[in-house]
Symmetry: C2
Subunit: 129 residues, 2 copies
């Protein structure tokens, strides 16, 4: 499929798709005229890339782990090197901390929301008197 369709199906901009390619995360075929031609599996791959970006991984690290992933591109899966495993373990711990932080922040927001929603008319009543 062409880049426009891939962008539509993944919700990722064409700009970003070209960027991913420059980072080595995608390697589409080219038509005679030079247009990118993506296989169907690119959709899942792009979504995966987005998830890893959202988790704070940089393109460099994503580049390293993509070949180690099941169903990444149909080719034989590589096994992560000990160094990569060590780095990924660190990333994993970072993600753990991030999740814990997010949960705490969510609680903070909940408290503010609840304080406002739990006594919604209180300040209004006060002002009305």
């Amino acid at each position: 499929m062409r880049i426009g369709e891939l962008a539509r199906r993944t919700g990722v901009s064409e700009r970003s798709l070209r960027y991913y390619e420059k980072q080595g995360l995608l390697a589409p075929e080219r038509t005679l005229g030079g247009h990118r031609d993506y296989p169907d599996g690119a959709v899942d791959r792009v979504i995966l890339i987005q998830e890893l970006f959202a988790a704070g991984l940089h393109s460099r690290k994503i580049y390293e782990i993509l070949p180690c992933m099941r169903d990444s591109d149909g080719g034989p899966n590589e096994i992560a090197t000990p160094l990569l495993v060590e780095e990924l373990t660190a990333e994993r711990e970072r993600i753990d901390r991030m999740i814990a932080d997010l949960i705490r922040s969510r609680e903070v927001l909940d408290e503010v929301i609840l304080t406002a929603s739990g006594r919604p008319a209180l300040s209004v009543e006060r002002e009305a008197r």
Copy 2:
């Protein structure tokens, strides 16, 4: 306390503490000579700010919710406006999605790590033959 001690006790750089002040998130007293003088509660407040930053909130939104927080600065707590509540609810949902994404990404990492750790010598054995 001075900015150096606050930085030490929170793990946040002096640069960032001054930045927070410029964003209206902190309002320390000043000595006659112009040095910042923070109350003890600043430690908790800075940690809270960091957590909210980690959750992806921008300083502008943090600025808005700080006055609505219990024990934020000892002053009377304001009640969030309906608009702010709406925005915070959106943030809350964003955080929810972020947590879900992080969990998925963590699973992805786990799979790569496990694949490497679960059969650590496999590729080596193959090469050895």
